[in-house]
């Protein structure tokens, strides 16, 4: 089949605006996007830069966007992209600075972020026989997280990164999960300190986009939620998140339901005058509209005593 690849080009160190180059090529019907890129580089344009390593869907090195959708170049068939038109677009993944063409800067994108979570195990002193035995059921879950390709597709799909590139992102947080839930790790509190810093764990909006984008079924969003539950259990160290979460729990414990007005105020912190003043314009407008944004008598669930009993029992079990 004859296909036109419209490939994103960027030349580092020049003033030339990035744009797309068109390459018309002949490919077999089973060809992948990577086959096409290799053919272009070998036969038409030796200056085209892209990454690929294992070429069989194992290493996560060749992530790109084909027709706007992120994927591995080596496992995506061209025929799946040309149903509507014999032209396909090939771009670098989003949320990542581009060095040249399809080659992006993985340091700022991923490695520096993974670095922030201290990605190594802090084991207890060596056992007498040199072995630490862990039940396979526990290891199976950790192993799943460890099977991460570092392909970055979860970060690519993340909702927060486009508005804040400094966000730690799902891949690094998944890496943190791998250590936090490893029974051998002795640095859990330390590690939470790093991942709870601003632009970390509490900046995720739990939108489940990351899970949807992971080709490995690692479910990064679920890992992030598990980290949050663990932080809640151990005592949240980020002051803002702590106020928000414990005030939320408190409200439900007291009345069975959530009092959002009180929550907003308490999340800011009762002594944080500047934060509270920031709430005022919205609060005044809301009040005029009958929205009750400030502490008010919230109706109480008649089931409140039972709800409180349940919450206290659950907290007791996880202390």
């Amino acid at each position: 089949m004859e296909v036109t690849f419209k490939v994103y080009r960027k030349e580092p160190g020049t003033q030339t605006q990035p744009g797309r180059s068109d390459y018309k090529i002949e490919l077999g019907k089973d060809a992948t996007v990577l086959d096409g890129l290799l053919k272009i580089r070998d036969e038409l344009d030796g200056t085209l830069a892209f990454r690929a390593s294992c070429m069989r869907g194992y290493c996560g090195d060749c992530t790109i966007r084909a027709n706007g959708k992120s994927c591995f170049a080596c496992t995506t068939r061209v025929s799946s992209l040309t149903q509507k038109s014999p032209e396909i677009t090939v771009d670098p993944v989003r949320n990542m600075p581009v060095i040249k063409d399809l080659v992006s800067d993985w340091d700022t994108f991923l490695w520096n972020k993974i670095d922030r979570i201290h990605p190594w195990l802090e084991p207890p002193g060596t056992a007498a026989n040199g072995e630490t035995i862990i039940p396979d059921s526990v290891m199976a879950d950790i192993r799943k997280a460890m099977s991460c390709y570092y392909c970055g597709l979860c970060d690519e799909g993340c909702t927060v990164l486009p508005v804040d590139f400094g966000f730690m992102g799902p891949a690094a947080l998944t890496k943190a999960y791998r250590f936090v839930f490893d029974p051998r790790d002795t640095a859990t509190r330390e590690r939470f300190k790093y991942i709870e810093e601003s632009k970390g764990l509490w900046d995720c909006v739990h939108c489940f986009e990351a899970s949807e984008h992971c080709p490995r079924g690692i479910a990064p969003t679920e890992r992030i939620m598990a980290l949050r539950d663990k932080a809640f259990e151990l005592g949240i160290q980020n002051p803002r998140a702590a106020r928000h979460h414990y005030s939320f729990a408190d409200s439900i414990k007291k009345s069975g339901v959530l009092d959002e007005g009180k929550l907003a105020v308490e999340s800011e912190g009762l002594t944080n005058i500047r934060g509270l003043v920031r709430l005022l314009p919205t609060a005044a407008r809301a009040l005029r509209r009958g929205k009750a944004p400030i502490p008010y008598i919230h109706h109480k669930s008649p089931g409140a005593p039972q709800i409180r009993r349940i919450i206290e029992k659950a907290e007791e079990k996880h202390r």
Binding site: K199, D203, H244, V257, E260, G261, R289, A314, H318
Partner: protein, 293 residues
Amino acid sequence: MKYAFYPGCVSRGGCPELYTAATKVAARLGIELDELRDVACNGAGVLPKYISDPINARTLAKAERLGETLMTICSTCTGVLRAANLRLKEDPEYREQINRDYLAEEGLQYRGTIEVKHLLWVLFEDYGIDRLKAQIRRPLTGLKVSPFYGCFMRRPPEVVTPAKEDAGRKNYLENLIDAVGAELTDFSGKGKCCGFPILTSNPDNSHAMTAKHTGEAKQKGADCMVTPCPLCHLSLDGQQAEAAKARGTNIDLPILHLPQFVGLALGFSPAELDFKRHMVSTKEVENQVSMLA
């Protein structure tokens, strides 16, 4: 048609207009609501599962006693309750442990037989969209509407669309806009996050997300946006002015709750649907609607 009705904290607190509209629309359509009054907030993804699963098991057990499907009017309630329900249904041992440890003392038990559905799904899957169409008294001709789902109505798939037949759930809002005679203004952010969950932890990022979606819909020509999630509403409506200011623009896009939007088509007046409680002025929409009536 009768449902165990779980209105959620927001419709009883920050967005009282949602409760008003939902109950009026249900009554008009002949959907009977058995409101669960003594149940808890579901935890909204803020409480850890070890706390929220037991309190949600209690809520589900209450619905099970009534023998009715549990109906919500909030994307977040739907997602969190469904995820808890899935864990409890899939793992009888876990369910029994929660029954024993938490529910038995109150004489309750959850057997795992209850289904959780958002009003939007009820309209399409139980009520029937043709039946709804037959009740329309004011087709919303010419009103340009953008849909906004709320994450929990889209993802994760095992919770939202576990069966093949559920795939349509990703298009119900668009189909609804069409069914009531309004015009769809599609935009890329409709299935994305509104920014609400990080409103306290990172207001700047949260506002950036709110401004991005409302700004895009407005720019595409929408007269208003409709959402089945009151938490999205708190951001998209309640925070829109702040979010726009941070961007140095005005957006002024009215955000309607799902039942308000359906209510308009059923012939309710904006006043009956409590439009006055919105933070972004709904004047333009009201004018347009008044010309249709």
